[in-house]
Symmetry: C2
Subunit: 327 residues, 2 copies
């Protein structure tokens, strides 16, 4: 496959590990996916990742890879590549970079998964060419990445971009982080599910219609009600679902107005499962921002849906490896 | 005065112009202050500034100044030094940098006044040595500046740092910006005054005690009630004033938690008239942040009062000039 530059990107989450061969253009040439066996502990998981990387290495271009990039759902020490804390993996202080480097004899760079996805969107997705952008990923949780003046912001302890935990309603409902009224506690997938369950409980007749509109058959257990169900019912024009989606839109507008005023990005890129389930939100959020953010802060602003979807993590991790290690 | 490096800093606001000779260590060697005669228009004001600069130039060190830095209360085009919009000066599209350069035959750099004050605190105040910091100035309005990875954030159209307009209560009261529930609409000086007037109107007996505690003699006009009065009554342990200050503290905690989670600074520096009037707020805000922000985001965090007070603007503007023009 010639002299091209390429790297291996790893997206390590609590449910699956994905590994891909990615070229310098951000194209995925090969990929492997496995469930993450969290219960087996970090050593086994790292061995499994090393095995997947080796398998793909043999299938990649003939030139050696620039290196390996890993995006992990947790807090990472940027200097050492140690995963400090990854709640979904139940990891604390795991020297991921060192272990993989030793196992693979390849250079390895480790970053947070949302940061990796931001690298992907920036270099090969909706952020291409921008020097100032925010990626906001609205899934079960809400996370983000910020590029300002052509640089990815890291912050003091490498946790810049926890955009799900900006206080959007200081009287709002509790968040999993311990605080209340965070953007995530109003518009993250888990919060949408919580709100839907409350609404169904408080208004049983409307709730029944909602569940029917979503295509759920009774009896429905509370845990069957999630953001996906809300999106399905909203698409079927269920009135309760529309109210819930209106609340989500309102929270996302308030939160993104904060981000636009604070960071003044040229592009705001919206991704994640909630946005994929309710794609019309992009337009609503953009209209809301244009009505509520400071004029000076939106002059250069474009609001765009994320482009790489589930591939942003592996593409971004590989992109970071190429940037870090390619000659 | 020898071979030292120095510059002239200008702080141009809607009520006064201050011009100072500042050395490379951030020390003010000479200064001049005049009221801003907004009604005379930009040409006269620029001529007055040039006159003040010339006067000080003669009194500065014998070496020529590195240049002139201007912080202006408005939106500035960073590339051209044109003041795009300055509501308090009633300026639109004023080529401040060009005019001063021509008048003074010195290099001139123009920035926003809050950005200038952030430069001052960063290089010569409470931010010295930090690579990641936020300055939040809580005065009549609320503004800020952000340094991340050793660089001052500018944003897409040079308005990054509008930290007074992060939505802190999406159901909150209207803000002067047109939106509602902005941090400034809850904790800026004008909002504190609004809230105090409402409280006095709604609870006349408590209001009477409040005005007495603040040392105001009746009859008191609504416009006599301002943030300074609230601070005075709170210092005199007036119960209504304490409630108002508690509300302000709560809003500032919610807002600064957002900033800490989003930017992950090593230092959060709190300045401005409201903080000077209620200095105990610094500790309360710090305690609130430590209780509510993400653990990972506060590991490296210090919360400090601003140090340069009213001098931050001229010192910062001169510092930016030295940085931009000194050999």
């Amino acid at each position: 496959m010639g002299q091209e530059t390429w790297a291996i990107g790893v997206d390590l989450g609590g449910t699956k590990v994905e590994v891909a061969v990615v070229d310098a253009g951000g194209k995925i040439l090969q990929r492997l996916k496995q469930p993450t066996h969290v219960e087996t502990g970090p050593e086994r998981i790292m061995a499994a990742i090393a095995g997947m990387v080796r398998q793909l290495q043999d299938r990649g271009p003939q030139t050696p890879p620039a290196g390996v990039g890993v995006g992990v759902a947790g807090q990472v020490n940027a200097a050492t590549g140690v995963v400090r804390f990854a709640p979904n993996l139940n990891w604390r202080e795991v020297p991921l970079q060192d272990r993989l480097q030793t196992a693979l004899t390849l250079p390895v760079v480790v970053t947070n998964d949302v940061r990796a996805a931001t690298w992907g969107e920036w270099r090969h997705g909706a952020g291409q060419g921008a020097q100032d952008l925010i990626c906001l990923f609205i899934g079960t949780g809400i996370g983000g990445g910020v590029v300002s003046g052509g640089r990815m912001l890291e912050g003091c302890t490498n946790t810049a971009g926890e955009l799900g935990h900006i206080t959007t309603d200081l009287n709002g409902p509790p968040c999993t982080c311990g605080h209340r009224g965070c953007l995530e506690a109003l518009a993250g997938g888990w919060a949408i599910a919580r709100r839907a369950r409350e609404a169904i409980r408080d208004a049983p007749a409307a709730g029944k219609a909602f569940l029917q509109a979503a295509g759920l058959k009774e009896p429905v257990a509370p845990e069957d009600v999630n953001a996906r169900v809300v999106a399905a019912a909203a698409r079927a024009h269920d009135p309760l679902a529309r109210i819930l989606v209106d609340e989500v839109a309102r929270a996302l507008i308030a939160g993104t107005v904060s981000l636009v005023n604070a960071f003044n990005p040229c592009r705001l890129i919206l991704g994640g499962g909630v946005m994929q389930g309710l794609p019309e939100l992009t337009e609503r959020i953009e209209a809301g921002i244009r009505g509520a953010a400071l004029n000076a802060a939106i002059e250069g602003l474009e609001v765009l849906p994320a482009r790489l979807k589930g591939d942003a993590g592996v593409v971004g991790a590989a992109t970071l490896a190429i940037r870090s290690f390619a000659p």
